[in-house]
């Protein structure tokens, strides 16, 4: 065989044209397509009274994503979109995951913040209990707060 080394500098497109890298295999199962199908079935969205909720009007003030764009490619544009598009996302998430509340790992910083918020809530309740002179409840809340502060 001719051992002479050929060197070529090719971009992606030329390489594909010259057939140096194989084409992507044909689709078998395609999640984005499946998602699109789900969304087509769901639209249009209306609330229980049949008024007002026009998904087409939803636009994210942060990233500028419009509902139509989300429908077209099944991708959200930024973390805020989960709240902006909440009404249209909920039915999709229910179908895909059959669940709506995250279970499992939570970042440490978030866990700390959640514990802090919880303690703040309990302290408000404690103040209320003291204000109405419910000392039994106040004692229970105080123990609860101490326990959580020790754990944190």
């Amino acid at each position: 065989m001719n051992k002479k080394k050929r060197e070529m500098h090719l971009c992606e497109g030329c390489a594909r044209e010259q057939n140096l890298i194989p084409d992507a295999p044909s689709p078998q199962l395609n999640l984005p397509a499946l998602l699109q199908l789900l969304m087509t079935q769901l639209a249009p969205v209306a609330d229980a009274e049949g008024d007002d909720l026009d998904p087409a009007s939803l636009t994210c003030p942060d990233c500028g994503l419009k509902y139509a764009q989300f429908r077209a490619d099944g991708r959200l544009g930024c973390p805020e979109d989960y709240d902006v598009f909440l009404p249209v996302l909920v039915p999709i998430l229910e179908r895909v995951h059959r669940g709506l509340q995250h279970q499992g790992k939570t970042p440490k910083a978030v866990r700390k913040q959640m514990a802090k918020n919880e303690i703040a809530d309990l302290k408000t309740q404690l103040d209320d209990a003291i204000a109405v002179e419910d000392y039994e409840e106040a004692a229970r809340l105080r123990d609860c707060i101490r326990g959580k502060e020790a754990a944190g």
Binding site: I21, A24, N30, P79, L93, M114
Partner: protein, 356 residues
């Protein structure tokens, strides 16, 4: 980094000696993560992507890991190097040849851990293990994620968990998949039935290269679909149970093959070796089919002098980018088929492997 030095290695996923390696090729867990306060990759400008890349790259560089991660700038790689990393399962086809702009992948020398940057999500962490090893893979990726979380602030929602560009990944962001070699269930046609039952319990079956790829060489990846509402531990447990069932079915089907049609199987294996060792043109597809038969032949003890890891080497080396690197020259489809055949002929001659 010169990627060519990876060429002689099998990497973690083809190491071939993990638990249940007579059937299970590898276990992979991936986590999708995004940075808080930044648009997802698909809506980020080139400048925003570049900024994300720098932030993540810096974070990766300072991680205290037993196996250091080396960062490769994918936008600067040649098409063949990109294809090479895809074939080694270190990055997705999406990151390699669909997406554009600043993006990269960091991986360790064992080729066990990889972190893709600016894929569909800002971060895609991945841990590979030979054989079935869901617990070990989870422990390693969980630790890596913990370390990254001390350097980066993730987009996280109290109700929806880790936020991802595609709602199919939101929640844990975890996809755990086990790659199985199921030739006997394929031969006995029981596989269709099995897959229908897996779909009912929300597990997804895919081919070798993940989403959208066909199953070639009887290799199948089984992974979870659900990421929201079930904890990582519960999902892993469900997969573990299903895998142990499938292992039983495949082993039973293999025993049946040996019991009822040993002669025919022996013939099929001998012909597969014969074709691999004498063809002058061979496609990647046909190579994978024949190697699948050879792999089964080894497991059924119909072949003696060929170690299973050799099949893995032939398998990876006959893929497009690997082959072109081995030959040291770009090859088009036809040339590849002839180079592949030549490589296989030489290898099998070297090994002195012949049918009994």
């Amino acid at each position: 980094m010169n990627l060519d030095r990876l060429l002689p290695n099998l990497g973690e996923w083809l190491r071939g000696n993990g638990p249940e390696s007579d059937i299970v090729i590898s276990t992979r867990i991936r986590l999708a993560r995004n940075l808080a306060g930044s648009p997802f990759s698909n809506r980020a400008s080139a400048a925003q992507k570049a900024e994300t890349e720098v932030r993540i790259r810096d974070a990766i560089a300072t991680l205290d890991l037993p196996h250091k991660l080396d960062y490769v700038d994918v936008s600067k790689l040649t098409p063949i190097d990109r294809q090479f990393l895809i074939e080694r399962q270190l990055m997705s086809r999406e990151l390699g040849s669909v997406l554009e702009g600043p993006r990269g992948v960091a991986f360790d020398e064992r080729e066990s851990v990889s972190v893709m940057v600016n894929e569909e999500d800002h971060l895609r962490l991945q841990v590979m293990r030979s054989g079935v090893a869901l617990d070990e893979a989870w422990a390693e990726i969980d630790h890596l994620d913990d370390l990254l979380e001390t350097k980066l602030t993730y987009a996280f929602h109290e109700q929806f968990g880790y936020l991802t560009a595609c709602p199919t990944n939101v929640g844990t962001g975890m996809r755990a998949s086990v790659m199985l070699h199921l030739p006997a269930l394929s031969l006995t046609k029981e596989i269709e039935k099995l897959f229908r039952s897996l779909q009912k319990i929300n597990l997804v079956v895919r081919g070798l290269y993940g989403e959208g790829s066909r199953a070639s060489g009887d290799l199948y990846q089984i992974s979870n679909q659900v990421t929201l509402g079930k904890s990582e531990g519960r999902v892993l447990q469900e997969i573990r149970e299903v895998i142990s069932q499938i292992l039983q079915y495949e082993r039973r089907a293999r025993q049946l093959l040996v019991k009822e049609r040993k002669q025919a199987e022996q013939d099929r294996v001998a012909r597969a070796i014969g074709t691999l060792g004498s063809a002058t043109m061979i496609t990647s597809e046909e190579t994978m089919e024949l190697l699948s038969t050879v792999r089964l032949g080894i497991q059924l003890h119909l072949l003696e002098d060929l170690p299973a890891t050799t099949v893995n080497q032939l398998f990876i080396h006959t893929q497009a980018a690997h082959l072109q690197k081995l030959m040291g020259t770009p090859l088009d489809g036809e040339e590849r088929n002839s180079a592949r055949a030549k490589y296989l002929r030489n290898k099998l001659r070297e090994l002195g492997a012949s049918q009994r």
